[in-house]
């Protein structure tokens, strides 16, 4: 199996991009990634693009060839991967395998979502399609409600407090003030989170990632070719992916994402490292409870101690394992299909030492963890400055 390296990254400003269409956002990010890699379009052999629901958001399916067409990739194969919020994380995983196998030498991974053309209640219905349409959302469950059910159990089983959930949001908002591409560039307080309107109790609006337009793109190639394009290739050291039941009620314990546990163990094994070796991580904080549970599932702390980990500041920039220096899904924004790619863009910037005011010092090894739906998909990647 061949080693894989990232040689180019690009990302649009995340937020309410009323001036731009789905295709415009993708092309902007993709062109930036190609420029970053000093690479011509004709060198890209295939496109793997993550997109959740362009059909529901903007009435467009079959987006992969559309995006290839508008980027002028000509006749190159274009694949669309849909795994809800984990779409572009899974696209990146497939792209790694395509290069590792020797089928392709250079591929582009993209992620894009255009969500603000419909109302909030309509968007809430679209999110709910990431769960079991017949046995969950039919009866009135929404995606925030699913995470609220998870949060309630975590509070009962482990004593996790609403204040600890709020601290995740406070940290991620603070980090986003140092990220010029983030959707929200203002600080908030625990009190402001806890007095913000309730979405689905115990989750407040400031516990939830926003509705966002945006795109991100990555150029990756075989490790042998990487130095031709950049002096600072970032290597893929390990990856893993796993599934869990589509419906939350079919899981024996809803306070853990077993797909995260399984995906991360595969990735640690492939990279030959342990959780303590991770210097910086972009984790899936679609809802604040998800970041806390992810600390536990990834082995950053003991089961049930995630609330304590945020409270003690261990995941702040400068802490033991800085998490979501970009601002995370919460404050960088969560354009569903683009989120996994945006996480990878951040980790590559961190490992290159190009993250500006939010730079984690001496970051050698970084991780991304991308969850789909209520935890039915999880994909984990581990990156390093040095080749395995």
């Amino acid at each position: 199996m061949r080693d894989v390296a990232v040689v180019g990254i690009g990302m649009t400003k995340f937020g309410e991009r009323w001036d731009k269409q789905l295709r415009d956002l993708f092309v902007e990010a993709a062109n930036e990634a190609l420029k970053d890699a000093s690479m011509g379009k004709d060198e890209v052999q295939a496109l793997f693009v993550g997109n959740f629901s362009a059909g529901s958001f903007v009435g467009q399916e079959h987006v992969a060839p559309l995006l290839a067409d508008y980027l002028s990739l000509k006749s190159k194969p274009a694949f669309r991967i849909e795994n809800a919020c984990a779409s572009s994380g899974m696209a990146f995983n497939l792209a790694c395998m395509a290069i590792a196998s020797g089928i392709y030498d250079i591929v582009m991974v993209g992620g894009v979502e255009k969500m603000t053309d419909i109302s909030v209640s309509e968007a809430t219905s679209v999110y709910a399609k990431a769960m079991d349409a017949e046995w969950e959302s039919f009866f009135g469950l929404t995606l925030p409600a699913a995470f609220a059910l998870i949060a309630r159990r975590h509070m009962v089983q482990y004593g996790t407090k609403p204040e600890q959930l709020a601290m995740v949001s406070v940290k991620n908002h603070r980090n986003a003030t140092k990220n010029p591409l983030a959707q929200f560039q203002f600080e908030i307080t625990v009190e402001r989170v806890l007095t913000s309107p309730i979405v689905s109790d115990p989750l407040h609006v400031l516990d939830c990632s926003p509705i966002t337009d945006g795109a991100a793109a990555i150029v990756l190639c075989s490790a042998e070719l990487a130095k031709k394009y950049t002096d600072t290739p970032i290597y893929v050291l390990g990856f893993g992916a796993a599934s869990d039941s589509i419906a939350l009620h079919d899981r024996p314990d809803i306070t853990t994402f077993s797909a995260t546990v399984k995906a991360s163990r595969q990735a640690y094994k492939m990279a030959g490292i342990e959780p303590k070796n991770i210097n910086v991580a972009e984790l899936h904080d679609s809802f604040t409870i998800a970041e806390i549970i992810s600390y536990e599932d990834l082995g950053f702390c003991e089961k049930g101690k995630g609330g304590l980990m945020i409270e003690e500041g261990e995941t702040e920039i400068g802490g033991r394992i800085p998490v979501n220096p970009s601002g995370g899904l919460k404050a960088r924004g969560n354009p569903i299909g683009a989120t996994g790619a945006a996480q990878i863009v951040e980790i590559v910037q961190q490992l290159r030492g190009e993250a500006g005011k939010r730079q984690v010092s001496d970051a050698e090894i970084g991780m991304t963890q991308n969850i789909g739906g209520s935890g039915s998909t999880c994909v984990v990647h581990i990156f390093g400055r040095q080749r395995r």
Binding site: S121, E122, F138, A148, L149, V156, H249
Partner: protein, 135 residues
């Protein structure tokens, strides 16, 4: 919005009568119709009557409503654990949001779930309500 009628009919009996799938090999039961056991992979699945009482395993009060529930909420959603251990997702009715608790005993209530449009078909299914001790 796309008419849901054909999909509603496919699952109507299951939802009206609270039928489940039981694996005769490992004993796992689940609410949806399945031809393969999600736990052991066996194809020996039988349709069973699920118990009509259980307890609240987790709950939330939904304030931000999906488009289909416009004007309806806030409403309580829960994972209910039935007497035989099968879990399902359902709305809790005949209960104030401040009264719902984890472990609260609940029983089946057959109710209207939604309507396709103002003059469209109405669809029904299960909800759960607190068991009131009748002394």
């Amino acid at each position: 919005m796309m008419p849901k009628s054909p999909r509603i009919w496919q699952l109507a009996e299951r939802r009206y009568r609270l039928l489940g799938s039981k694996c005769t090999v490992c004993g796992k039961t689940s609410i949806g119709p399945r031809s393969v056991c999600p736990v052991c992979g066996s194809e020996k699945i039988e349709t069973v009557q699920l118990p009509s009482t259980g307890k609240v395993y987790s709950y939330t009060v939904v304030h931000m409503l999906p488009a289909e529930k416009d004007g309806y909420g806030p409403y309580i959603m829960a994972i209910v654990e039935l007497e035989d251990g099968t879990r399902l997702t359902a709305e809790i009715v005949d209960c104030e949001p401040e009264d719902v608790k984890i472990g609260m005993p609940v029983e089946l209530a057959f109710r209207l779930i939604g309507q396709e449009s103002e003059h469209g078909i109405i669809y029904y299914g299960y909800k759960f309500r607190p068991i009131i001790s009748r002394t």
